[in-house]
């Protein structure tokens, strides 16, 4: 799983039937120190995350399994909201 921050939502009126009713979130990937890393991606939401939440998400086959109806074409799904994160200091 990876860590990211919700920076927005995406609205689609026309989408695949199996994704109807599922919220789409714009996610900025973060590194272990919560610094932005990489380009934003769009993910399906399984936990009702909101703007500015730090979340974790998974890609691949597991993304589809994370939604209620597992037969869907999701390739990134938000699976949890992070309350706190501890990372040890970088060794010099």
């Amino acid at each position: 799983m990876k860590i990211g921050k919700v920076i927005g939502t995406v609205v689609c009126n026309q989408k695949v039937d199996s994704l109807i009713g599922i919220k789409l979130l714009l996610i900025q990937p973060l590194n272990e120190y919560l610094k932005e890393e990489g380009t934003p991606v769009v993910a399906c939401d399984a936990v009702q995350a909101g703007l500015n939440d730090i979340v974790f998400y998974e890609g691949g086959r597991e993304a589809a399994l994370g939604l209620i109806n597992w037969f869907n074409p999701s390739d990134l799904t938000v699976m949890g909201i992070i309350d706190s994160l501890y990372t040890e200091e970088k060794k010099k």
Partner: protein, 94 residues
């Protein structure tokens, strides 16, 4: 499976039900010299590892689901062991 070092932990209250009762740890994949290699991962812990431990991470979906005995768990990365020692002749070669 890959070798990694545990570098942090994550607390999450709102998550999918299959994650309940498991710890979530941040790991940094390492090479045989124990140097960091590649991007960090957030993994599920089944062996009670802690920060600083070198661990064995299963990074494959079907194997992870087998470990959790749940055929539809949306989980790919699971810690399956704590490494005591790595023996190799390749260490230090360039």
């Amino acid at each position: 499976m890959i070798l990694a070092r545990v570098i942090g932990q994550v607390v999450s209250t709102i998550k999918l039900d299959v994650f309940k009762g498991f710890k979530l740890l941040l790991v940094q994949p390492i090479d045989i010299e124990e140097k960091p290699k590649g991007k960090i991962l957030l993994v599920l812990d089944t062996v009670q590892a802690g920060v600083g431990d070198v661990v064995l991470v299963m990074d494959e979906g079907n194997s992870a689901r087998t470990i959790l005995e749940n055929t539809t768990a949306p989980i790919r990365s699971v810690i399956v062991g704590i490494v005591d020692e790595i023996q190799t002749d390749k260490r230090g070669e360039k």
